[in-house]
Subunit: 502 residues, 2 copies
C-alpha cells in the first residue's frame, strides 16, 4: 500500500469504455510543480465553491418558483458517483447507435461535445472517444421548458447520462459519426461537470493548420496543447495517434514472440548516463525504446533481417488494421501513405555517400550524416527505390560507440547500421563486441573510464555469443509512419528540457 513505492517501470493499460477522456493513468506522475502557484489554485477553489453555491441557489429558486415543472425528476446534476449503489442499467455505446436500434429507449453515458439551443429545442452532440451522435431535447410530452433550458446550459466536455429514444433520420447528419440516427432525450443528468471556460476548444485542436489561417479561425499551438494535454488527448486525432501507438507495441511483441524471443525488463536506474541535446523536433529527454538483442550464428545480417522483418510486420499490421486511425490523423495532418519494400532495401554507407555527392553534397568518406543530409538521402532513396523505409549499413567506425564491432575487411568501417523512416532515423544498431579484451581496447581507444564500465566488460568474460541488436524509438515510429512533424505529438506526456509537467 502507498502511493509511491520507489521508481516504477510501468506498463499501463487504460480503459475508458464510455467517455472520451484520457487522464494520466497514474496520478502520482501528474503531481508536479507549477509557476502559477498555490494562491491561484485557492482562488479557483473559492471561485468554484461560490459558483456551486450560486448554482444551488438558482436551482432552489427554480424549484420553488416552478413547482409545476412536470419534468423536474427527469433532469439535474447527479450526486458525485461514489459507488453508492450497483445500478442494473445497461449503457449503450455511441458506436453501436445504428438504425437497428431505431425506436428503442436506451441509456447512454457520453460527453457533451457541443450544444446549441434553438427556440424550444436544444441540439447536443454527444461524444465517446472518436464517435459522436446528435441528441435533441425538445419541449413536449417528455421535456419541459425548464429541462430544455437546463440541457442548453450544460458546459461543454461535461459527462452526462441520457435516457433517449433512438430515431432514424431522413437526411444524413454529416457532422456526426453516427449519421443515420439521432437521440430524442427523455432524461438527462450531469455526472461530471466541466468548468465553463475550457483552455482550448476541441474543434480548434483538430483544425488543419492551413485551414485555420485561411478562414480566420483559431488553431491551437503546441505549448497550449501540452499544457492542457488532458483535453488535447480527447481530440479524434490524439485518440487515433495513441490507439495506433498501442498497436505498434502489440505488433512488435507479437511478431517477436512468434519468432521465439523472450521479453525482458531492464533497469532504468543506472550509474552511467549520457545526455544529448533534446531541444529538437525529434528528441525527448525520455522516450520509449523497443529494444532487440539477438544472438546470431555467423553474420550480423541475420539480425538485420529479423529486425527489418519485424518492422515490415508492424507496417503491414498498421496498414491492415488501423486504416480508420490513419485516415483520422490524415484529416488534420495530410501525408502520403507509408511505402516499404519486401525484402527491405539495404544500402551501404558508401553508397549513401555516393548518392549524396551526386546530389551536390560535399562530405568525407568517414564523416557522419548530418540531419539535413539524412533527410536528403531519404528523398533520394524514395525517388530511386520508391520506399520510405531502408537500412543504411556499415557506418564508419569512428562515428559509432566503442562497443561496435569493427568491419573485418576494412578497419575504417563497422558492422553497424541505422534504419530510416521517411528520411529520419528510427533505429541505431550494430553487432556488439562480445569479447572482453577487444571491448577493453575499444573503450581505451575512445578514452572511456574503464572503472565506470567494469561490470559491463566483465559480463563478457564467461563466454558470450556473437550478437547484434538495436533500439527502436516508439514515438518516432508513430510520428514518421503517420507523417507527423514533431515527436511530442506521439508522446502522451512528453518530457524535454523545458517540460516536466503535466
Amino acid at each position: 500500500m502507498g502511493w509511491k513505492r520507489g521508481w516504477r517501470r510501468k506498463l499501463t493499460f487504460l480503459f475508458m469504455p464510455c467517455v472520451s477522456s484520457c487522464f494520466s493513468a497514474a496520478e502520482e506522475e501528474q503531481q508536479a510543480q507549477s509557476k502559477k502557484g498555490l494562491k491561484k489554485q485557492q482562488k479557483e477553489a473559492e471561485k468554484a465553491a461560490k459558483k456551486a453555491e450560486k448554482q444551488a441557489k438558482v436551482a432552489a429558486e427554480q424549484q420553488s418558483a416552478e413547482e409545476d415543472d412536470f419534468a423536474k425528476d427527469r433532469y439535474g446534476v447527479s450526486a458525485l458517483v461514489q459507488s453508492q449503489q450497483k445500478l442494473d442499467r445497461t449503457l449503450v455505446r455511441v458506436q453501436d447507435l445504428t438504425p437497428e436500434k431505431a425506436d428503442q429507449l436506451i441509456w447512454l453515458r457520453a460527453r457533451v461535445h457541443t450544444s446549441r439551443a434553438k427556440g424550444k429545442q436544444c441540439f447536443l452532440v454527444l461524444r465517446q472517444q472518436q464517435f459522436n451522435v446528435q441528441a435533441l431535447v425538445a419541449v413536449g410530452d417528455r421535456a419541459s421548458k425548464q429541462m430544455v433550458k437546463f440541457a442548453a446550459n450544460i458546459t461543454k466536455e461535461s459527462i452526462v447520462d441520457v435516457e433517449a429514444m433512438v430515431r432514424k433520420v431522413e437526411q444524413k447528419i454529416e457532422s456526426c459519426t453516427q449519421q443515420d440516427v439521432e437521440l430524442h432525450v427523455e432524461k438527462i443528468f450531469v455526472i461530471s461537470q466541466a468548468e465553463a471556460r475550457l483552455p482550448l476548444q476541441l474543434e480548434d485542436a483538430v483544425r488543419p493548420d492551413g485551414e485555420g489561417e485561411e478562414e480566420g479561425r483559431a488553431t491551437v499551438n503546441q505549448d497550449t496543447r501540452l499544457d492542457n494535454r488532458v483535453i488535447d488527448l480527447r481530440t479524434t486525432t490524439s485518440q487515433a495517434v495513441f490507439r495506433l501507438q498501442s498497436g505498434v507495441c502489440q505488433l512488435f511483441r507479437d511478431t517477436l514472440t512468434k519468432k521465439g524471443f523472450v521479453e525482458i525488463q531492464t533497469p532504468k536506474i543506472i550509474s552511467v548516463f549520457r545526455a544529448e541535446d533534446s531541444n529538437t523536433h525529434r528528441h525527448l529527454t525520455e522516450f520509449v525504446g523497443l529494444d532487440i538483442e539477438m544472438a546470431f550464428n555467423y553474420h550480423y545480417h541475420e539480425v538485420i533481417e529479423s529486425i527489418t522483418d519485424t518492422m515490415v510486420q508492424i507496417f503491414k499490421g498498421l496498414r491492415d488494421n488501423f486504416q480508420t486511425e490513419i485516415q483520422t490523423v490524415n484529416k488534420q495532418f495530410p501525408s502520403e501513405p507509408f511505402k516499404f519494400l519486401e525484402p527491405t532495401l539495404r544500402l551501404e554507407y558508401t553508397e549513401g555517400v555516393a548518392m549524396l555527392r551526386e546530389a551536390g553534397v560535399e562530405m568525407g568518406d568517414e564523416d557522419d550524416l548530418s540531419t539535413p543530409n539524412e533527410k536528403l538521402l531519404g528523398r533520394l532513396v524514395k525517388e530511386k527505390y520508391d520506399t520510405d523505409f531502408y537500412v543504411l549499413d556499415k557506418y564508419p567506425l569512428a562515428v559509432r560507440p566503442f562497443y561496435t564491432m569493427p568491419d573485418p575487411h576494412n578497419p575504417k568501417y563497422s558492422n553497424s547500421y541505422d534504419m530510416f523512416m521517411r528520411g529520419e532515423e528510427i533505429l541505431s544498431g550494430a553487432q556488439r563486441v562480445h569479447d572482453a579484451q577487444l571491448l577493453t581496447e575499444r573503450a581505451q581507444h575512445h578514452q572511456i573510464d574503464l572503472e565506470k564500465i567494469k561490470s559491463y566488460i566483465d559480463s563478457f568474460r564467461y563466454g558470450a555469443p556473437p550478437h547484434a541488436g538495436g533500439g527502436i524509438g516508439l514515438e518516432r515510429v508513430c510520428m514518421l509512419y503517420l507523417g507527423l512533424h514533431n515527436v511530442r505529438q506521439t508522446s502522451m506526456f512528453p518530457r524535454d528540457p523545458k517540460r516536466l509537467t503535466p
Copy 2:
C-alpha cells in the same frame, strides 16, 4: 546515433536462439562503477594477454612437434566471429536432438556445461538454455589424441561449434534433458572462450538449500548471484523464472486488449517522488508496475471484477502453458501449486480484522495491516476458503492516500482494496476521487502542498469519469506465484539501496 539518448523506457526483447546466455539487453545500462577498480582490471587484461600468448605458444609448439596430427583441421579456437562470411550451415537446436535424428551428421552451437576426460575419451555436456545433451570425443578415426586433449581443456561455459554424429543410446542418460541420444564429435571449435575461473558454479546455483548443507556441498548466496547475475541467469531456474515472467506480461496484455483496453506509456521522469523503505525481501527501489485504470459506470466493483478476472486469466495461462517452467523452479524451490477461485474471493476489511482477532491478534478497527498480520490473514483465508488469491476491500480511509474515494456510507472507510497472493500484497488500488474540489479538500486534509499537485488536480476540472484502478507488481506476482521468497529472484538486474550494478 549514439549510445545514450536521454532516459529510456525500454521494452526489450532478447533472443538467444543458440546459447544459454543472458547478458543485459542494453549495454549502456551495465556500465557502472565498481570498487575493485581500474588497476585490477588492467592487471586482468595483462594476465589475459599473457595467457593468450602462452596458449598460442603451446599451440605452436604442439603444431610443430606433432605435425603428424591427422585431425589438426578438426579442432581449434576459431577467430572472433566478426561477420567475416555468411556461412551456409544449419545449426540444430539441442532440444531437437531426438532419436529421429539418429545417424545424422549435424552442426550444433552450445555451451560447454561440464567436461570430464577419461583415458582416451572426453565426455562433454553441451547446453542451450534449459536443454542439454551428452557429447563424446574419443580417439579413433575422426579424433586424434591431441583433439581429445584439446576438448578436455575447453573451459566450462565456453561456446563451441561441434560437428557430430547423432547416436541412439541403449541406457537413458539421466543427467541430461536429451536422454535417448548422444553426440559423437567429429569436429570442435571454440567460438567464445570463458575465463577458467568462474565466480560461481551453475550446479551449485541450482542446488536446493537444504540439500547443499546435508551433503556438505556448496550453495551460492544471493549477493554472489547478483554480483555475477550474467552467469546466474544461465541456470535452469533463472531461465524458467524469466520465461514465466515474459508470460505474465503477455497474458496481462492479451487479456486487457481483448477487453478493449488501450496500452499507454506514462512518463517516468516526474517532479514528485516518494521514497519508501526498500530494505526488505519484497521491496526494490525500481520495479515493473502493470497498471490498470478503468472508467466505470456506477460502482468500483466493476473494476475489481475486471482486475481479478485479468489475474485469473494470468493464473490459468501460467498453469496451462508454463508447467515446464513451474516444475523447473520447483526442483530448486519446492512449493505448493498456486490455488485460486472463480469468481475471486472478496472480503471486506472488517471481516479480515475479525478473522485476525479471532486468531488472537489485537488491533483497532482503523489500524493498517502489518506485514506479519497480512501473512497471517493469508494463512487464515487459505484454511477457510482454500485460495491463495483474494481481494481485501474497503480499507480504512485514514491509511490510504488522499486521492482515494471515501466510502459513501461510512466516512471512516474507503472504496479501496488490496489484492494478495500467498498472503502478500501484489496490488493496491481504489476508486480515485474524480472531482477537483473533493480532491483539493482531501489533499488539504492530508496536509499535502497543493502547489506540487496542481497539474494533477487541474486534470479533473474539465469533466472526468468515475474511475478506479490499481498497480500490479510484476516481480511480486512472479515471486509469489512460484512460491519464491525474495523479489530479487524475479528481477533480472534488481536495484535496492545497496545495489546499482550490474
